[in-house]
Symmetry: C2
Subunit: 299 residues, 2 copies
């Protein structure tokens, strides 16, 4: 199997969990139909499920059964999905398309989209807490704190705030851009890796390695995303290309050019590979292939 | 001390925690200044801190030290505050005033208000998880699940969705109104009580009593709120009165009249008192006075 096929197989596993376990629980509890439709519209839009895959793979790397970590891993996808819904709102990035379909608020209205996002974010933490009792409570709680920090004011939400501030002003530096992206995209990707390690009961050194890998892969991922916004085509991206430039956003290509952006992305991938060089086995091999796969798309 | 004074004293205790511990943690972590300002603007707007007080009082009733439960109790205030910020948005209830001041989005813009709400909701779960290790992990996790359920799609967010659906249509019944309010306001108030009991390690019967009390007090509170929107004055309310009627919202007074609304509120208070009749001590007395105080405002 190629890495793309293995990623797809893992994504399918995550989707089964979300559809059958999470969806069924929401129905059991009597969630208003309009709200559930809005939540599932975006949750089931065929994302790559990168964050759950990272969480599951690091859990496996450190010896945890994948099934025990699945609720926690799925929670990352709920958080990621909520962030896309809110980012697309007219008051934010005002995007009409997401993954090739009308964005959430174009279908369910602004109020529906705000509430669907709020609900997904809230349910994410409930979902994550269901890794207990399969995983010890003393491991689940630090993992929850880690995920909360990454998603919160000093992580993803803070990054979106900086992104909006930067869009409105000139002269953003490369250091500022890297910091903003580390918060907006990097923090949750990193937490997915770190939480997998924590939930598996990895030692401090293992957790540090997961963090290094996550930070490097997160940075590479975002640089590639910037490049694709410049050179990709709308069909592959599922959204209009060139939208960053149109909005006057600073990106890696706009600040250092395409070639240097590609070089920097490659450098981050090397850092990710170095972080987990000491490990072997199928999970380590998959994580290595995944890191390399990220930049293949732009070479 | 009157119940009002005791409530104020407890609110002050909660504010000290939020200002000193939560605020300091956000600053330590380097939360972007614009985001933190928007979060603190609404968090420090002088609410009654009813939900943390309920959580702390039930914890005390069942023998837990208040300090150990404080992080969890404060988390309820963060959730409550986020819900007010998002409810006031132009796409939702479109309210310009909250607690006598311009609502969050009037000061920080729509994007700022959406992000401040998202951040407060996220940080709430991190804050709650800090009741561990002072409280056993096996008690904190079920309490987190309870709070998440109450705040989520089948609780508060679902209730706001129903509220918006009901505002847009005619012929809402009293049963529908009561159900919507039980989700929108009742669920979080109930969870505040229930989580206090869970965190204190109360037995099943104690947790059921806390739930009965919370459901009854939550219902009474919302009926009183409906009445005050009809007969209160703007200065007391900190927002324009009659706004429910203006928006064509169904309320207890609009469906059953003022007198019957008062009778129903009184009935719910009696149910709350009955739920905790078997307990004594200062926490039980305070909870009884609090239940009675809710309806005093409209008699």
């Amino acid at each position: 199997m190629t890495v793309k096929e293995r990623l797809a197989a893992q994504a399918a596993e995550v989707e089964v969990y979300i559809r059958e376990r999470f969806g069924a629980r929401m129905r059991e509890r009597g969630v208003p139909e309009g709200l559930l439709s809005a939540m599932e519209y975006s949750l089931m839009a065929g994302g790559k499920r990168l964050r759950p895959c990272l969480c599951l793979s690091f859990a496996e790397l450190f010896g945890a059964p994948r099934a025990s970590v699945m609720p926690f891993a799925a929670g990352f996808e709920l958080i990621h999905t909520y962030s896309l819904i809110h980012d697309d709102l007219p008051a934010m990035d005002d995007d009409d398309l997401r993954r090739g379909r009308p964005s959430n608020h174009k279908v369910f209205g602004e109020a529906g989209a705000i509430l669907a996002g709020d609900a997904l974010l809230t349910e994410a933490f409930g979902c994550m807490s269901r890794s207990w009792p399969a995983v010890a409570a003393e491991l689940v709680l630090p993992a929850l704190a880690e995920a909360g920090r990454a998603a919160g004011a000093a992580g993803m939400v803070g990054g979106q705030m900086l992104d909006m501030e930067f869009t409105a002003r000139q002269g953003v530096t490369l250091a500022e851009l890297a910091h903003m992206q580390a918060l907006k995209t990097g923090a949750l990707i990193t937490a997915s890796c770190v939480c997998g390690a924590i939930l598996a009961g990895a030692a401090e050194d293992g957790i540090s390695r997961a963090r290094e890998y996550g930070e490097a892969v997160g940075a590479a991922f975002q640089i590639v995303d910037d490049i694709l916004d410049e050179v990709g085509d709308a069909a592959t991206m599922g959204k209009p290309v060139g939208s960053d430039r149109e909005q006057g956003k600073s990106t890696y290509p706009s600040l250092v050019g395409l070639n240097e952006s590609r070089r920097l992305a490659g450098q981050r991938v090397d850092a990710a590979l170095a972080a987990i060089a000491a490990y072997d086995g199928p999970a380590a091999d998959f994580l290595r292939d995944l890191a390399r796969y990220i930049v293949v798309r732009v070479q």
